[in-house]
């Protein structure tokens, strides 16, 4: 009985009533400690726009690089903007920030600091409008605000904002729609491109006899080894990655038109000689009608003119397998969509 009285007496005390009325967690518990790693703060005047924070960020929509508009007196600031709704407070961005003092600061970090160097990029990224399917995946993945924009129903990379990180290239679902173009040694690159296209064409023309047999919607495909081609390109510029990139960029887009000439079917009617716009077809009484491939524009007018089907018109496309050891270029040849007379 006495224990119950003592128990009730507890509630009768004034201090109990005070504590009961004013019960509250300690302020210490409710406040975030100093070491708490909060959303990063941005000090935009220190930013060098290297993009290291966007590369380190594991959350998909946490950081965007933004560039202010230029004023009359100075260039606009480029700086990261943290989206609190996407940020997971990991602090990696503040950890990798290479500026001193840091552009991004937050509480204590746990990532072990690695040496960070900004890689000089020798590439400019462009979107090939011919291949682009306008899925806008690149716009979503772009780490820089407004670097990829839609203009006149075309997706365009704004070169003044692009930091050449290459993220868009990884997400693009179409091979060749976004490509990294090397910006140095342009003259040498031109030579390599000419070399590659010329040698591809000569190699396809060597297959003429088989190509002539293609009928209707059939496709003739074969592989060409690019090893010799790369050897020759090395003589012009000794940079394997650049050569690989160039060959890939060319072959993704290249559509070679091919004219075949069947001497047996030709009746020397000379209709094509008159029609040829570049004067590439000549008639001599000894050799009959002869086409000069160096002058030929591959315009297909002769093919459309010829009433005897002596001329064939084919389109070839290419796929460069750069990762394989034997560096094959896969070629597919098919007849053109133009009406056929035979």
């Amino acid at each position: 009985m006495s224990s119950v009285i003592w128990y009730l007496y507890e509630f009768a005390r004034k201090s109990w009533a005070e504590n009961f009325a004013a019960a509250k967690s300690d302020k210490e518990i409710m406040d975030a400690p100093d070491r708490f790693r909060n959303f990063p703060e941005v000090h935009k005047e220190y930013c060098i726009a290297c993009g290291a924070c966007t590369a380190a960020c594991p959350a998909p929509m946490a950081i965007k690089l933004v560039r202010d508009e230029d004023s009359e007196h100075e260039d606009g600031f480029t700086y990261p903007v943290i989206n609190n709704r996407g940020c997971i407070r990991c602090g990696f961005c503040a950890e990798v920030c290479p500026t001193d003092p840091k552009t991004l600061t937050c509480g204590e970090n746990h990532l072990i600091r690695e040496d960070f160097t900004i890689l000089p990029v020798d590439k400019k990224f462009v979107i090939d409008d011919y291949l682009c399917i306008r899925c806008k995946k690149c716009m979503k993945t772009c780490k820089v605000g407004d670097a990829i924009v839609e203009e006149d129903n075309k997706i365009v990379i704004d070169q003044s904002k692009c930091i050449s990180c290459g993220e868009c290239l990884k997400t693009c679902p179409v091979k060749g729609a976004i490509k990294g173009i090397h910006i140095s040694n342009v003259e040498e690159q031109k030579e390599i491109i000419n070399l590659v296209v010329d040698s591809l064409e000569s190699k396809i023309e060597a297959e003429q006899d088989k190509i002539k047999d293609i009928k209707g919607s059939d496709v003739y495909s074969f592989d060409i080894s690019a090893v010799e081609l790369i050897e020759e390109a090395r003589k012009i510029l000794d940079d394997d990655e650049l050569i690989d990139d160039i060959i890939e960029n060319i072959t993704d887009r290249l559509k070679l038109r091919l004219i075949t000439w069947d001497k047996n079917k030709c009746t020397n009617c000379r209709l094509c000689v008159k029609e040829c716009p570049s004067g590439a077809i000549k008639y001599t009484s000894e050799e009959g009608v002869i086409r000069n491939p160096d002058k030929c524009l591959r315009c297909s007018i002769c093919y459309q003119t010829c009433p005897f089907g002596a001329i064939g018109y084919y389109i070839s496309r290419f796929l460069y397998k750069r990762d394989e050891a034997d560096k094959l270029i896969h070629v597919t040849v098919k007849t053109s969509d133009l009406p056929v007379r035979s």
Binding site: A23, K24, S25, I29, M30, D31, A32, F36, F39, P58, A59, P60, M61, N83, N84, R85, G86, C87, I88, R89, K137, T141, T171
Partner: protein, 149 residues
């Protein structure tokens, strides 16, 4: 008089239902931390019920997986008026790390049900969750209780 009494009672007793719509469970653990003696949620008159039919406040965590789309709307419909929805963490707001290419999350949750308060963070601190519930909870519930339906 009766309304005043109802307001006082509603403000001092908030029942909460926690709905995880397919997240990593981190935010749920922070809510459990709120229940622990250190933060002691119940001193504010908040009680975690996990029954939408008795709840005033729905706490939504998670990035809204495919199968939760209709179920979340059902749960919202089951909650009696007045009701308040608090989205906890980054998942219901943007999808957070789950919102990758090819993933089937349907964030933000506000596309499906009206959201009254948002707490960002991955996960948010327990005190931030508490502040959000207390900021939006009592007044909204009291105000909505007076609405003539």
């Amino acid at each position: 008089m009766l309304d005043g009494l109802k307001d006082i009672i509603r403000k001092s007793s908030i029942h909460v239902c926690l709905v995880n719509t397919g997240g990593c469970n981190g935010c749920d653990i922070e809510v459990v931390a709120l229940l622990s003696p250190r933060y002691d949620l119940e001193q504010y008159g908040i009680y975690v019920h996990n029954n939408p039919r008795e709840a005033d406040v729905l706490l939504i965590t998670g990035a809204l997986a495919e199968q939760w789309k209709d179920k979340l709307q059902k749960i919202y419909a089951k909650t009696p008026e007045p009701k308040v929805v608090v989205a906890i963490g980054n998942c219901p707001l943007t999808g957070d790390v789950f919102n990758q290419e090819g993933s089937s999350v349907n964030a933000p949750v506000s596309d499906y049900i009206p959201v009254d308060a948002e707490v960002s963070g991955c996960p948010p601190r327990p005190t931030e969750i508490l502040a959000a519930i207390l900021a939006v909870g009592p007044d909204a519930i009291a105000a909505r209780g007076r609405q003539k339906l």
